[in-house]
Symmetry: C2
Subunit: 325 residues, 2 copies
């Protein structure tokens, strides 16, 4: 702990948990860190109340020079407004930055979790030697965030990074977004699990290990079980995991050809699927990129705290007037 | 003409023609402009000799404060080196910037034609009100260049913008690059023509108008004829043109989701195919982009001179020390 610098407050409103932490300018690591599960079936007011309690706890009566927020859903960085939450009702058009500034009398910057995680990894994680990177989370969904020239790249409408709904197979299965063969439709955990369930319903023998490990209760199949059974040789699980890895590889290769970031970091639960998955992703990217494009595909380093580290960067930028992070 | 400002020399080494022009700082339009066809079967020394003659002609004995070059092939902006030409042998690893600086005693910046065209359009063409854009040329190939935050975005390896080899249909036909279903394989003029020829060889009745207009000499079929016959209702030509427009639309939509540039400008011969093609490209982009992504798809404005205008921007930047264009 370092009491000499300014104190920054970092908040992470995740899909299933809430985290608050403080950090001193020039210090290493967190000064304080507190996390709580977001209550199932809760509303915006519940999350707000819990987060304020966590923030009060980590601040312990001190004043923050700046506040940074990672929000697990669409957020407008420029206006400081949460557009909506896919998990919790009541967040629509919430002026979260103004609300935090009013409560804590400190300037506040907010961003979505993929952008925040990209920034966190670029400053404190696996991308800390690089000026440019694409961070992609492969989890219940597939999302991405850019850092270009050391700064978050949010795009003209503030929504850059949507690699999850890149179409990589127009003849592929239908995604909830309405398109066919999106990266997320093929590579995310819940969709792999859903396709496994559908295949087992049609033919229980197609995935004997999946069938056995789920004890024939198909509701127990998730992306993690698909990955584990694929590693153990189950043919159905292996086919679905590799199809997902290839779809992601096509998406990442296309992104590398298009933007040439040099480094792509992958985080999220599905990236824990093991070497079979990683080897397939990397081999597919190599097939897709042009000979002159160089790109490393590496695991992200900060795990679940990547968005929180990004929020800390935003907090420092807010304290500094918010012009550049 | 305006004699008060610095004089900039802009050079465009195109695939089939060479252009030199001068421009005064603060002036509008070109002070002088000269163009010559690049000799078929020529080598690098031929093009160099012709370009020097054109440059001497437009300079008319005056000294350039800076030189900018658009090169129709891979070029390394940072090192000022042409990597190779796909059209003319002898350009491999040519230090073109140093060579021009030595001859004309003026600082020189070079870039590839897609990046130069993007920059030209952003400063002087259809993108002049915008900070960000993607320029895509759809011609004998499909290439792209970015301007982000008012500056060319060249990527980590200097090769960003390769939308032509984005895979949009893994089950599509094989491209020379080795992949299946690249945008260029489906949307470029020569590939559309080659597919038309193959289909007519297999079944001359598949495209009666193509057959008639080429007078059964299939070597006369090019992208322009495919577009013209598609507009006139030929079923084969129409199928190929729309397949190309859809492939391009998927690529552009994916690019918009990923980078969110707000504006995509399209230039090159295929964009003259008419409303059927434009409507299909735009409708496909609308299908692909997420609801929150906004992007306009517009024709480029500067035509064949877009790279030359970009070269003029580079010349001014070279004169100014080359830090920012």
């Amino acid at each position: 702990m370092n009491g000499s610098g300014a104190l920054y407050l970092a908040l992470d409103f995740g899909g299933t948990k809430l985290t608050a932490a403080t950090r001193f300018a020039g210090g290493s690591g967190w000064a304080a860190h507190a996390r709580q599960v977001s209550p199932a079936g809760g509303r915006m007011a519940d999350d707000w109340g819990l987060m304020v309690a966590l923030a009060d706890e980590v601040l312990a009566g001190r004043k923050a020079a700046g506040i940074g927020v990672s929000f697990g859903g669409p957020a407008d960085f420029q206006r400081g407004i949460v557009l909506l939450s896919h998990h919790v009702p009541g967040w629509e058009q919430m002026p979260l930055a103004a609300r935090l500034t009013a409560r804590y009398a400190a300037p506040t910057l907010i961003d979505n979790d993929a952008n925040a995680a990209a920034l966190g990894e670029q400053r404190y994680g696996a991308g800390s030697a690089r000026e440019h990177l694409l961070f992609v989370t492969v989890s219940t969904g597939v999302g991405g965030g850019w850092v270009l020239n050391g700064q978050p790249w949010r795009g003209s409408s503030g929504v850059a990074g949507e690699i999850g709904h890149m179409v990589v197979d127009p003849d592929g299965p239908r995604c909830l977004c309405g398109k066919n063969g999106c990266v997320e439709r093929l590579a995310s955990g819940p969709y792999m699990a859903a396709d496994a369930v559908a295949a087992l319903v049609a033919a229980p023998g197609a995935g004997p290990l999946l069938w056995e490990k789920s004890a024939a209760d198909l509701t127990r199949i998730d992306g993690r079980l698909v990955a584990a059974c694929a590693a153990a040789g189950d043919p159905l699980a292996r086919r679905l995991l590799l199809r997902g890895a290839r779809a992601l590889g096509v998406g990442l290769g296309n992104a590398a050809n298009l933007v040439d970031p040099g480094l792509i970091l992958l985080g999220g639960g599905v990236t824990k699927a093991g070497p079979l998955w990683w080897d397939t992703v990397r081999a597919t990217v190599r097939d897709i990129i042009l000979p002159e494009v160089q790109v490393a595909i590496e695991p992200a380093a900060l795990g679940d705290d990547a968005p929180l580290w990004g929020a800390a960067v935003l907090a420092a930028a807010a304290a500094d007037g918010g012009r550049r992070v």
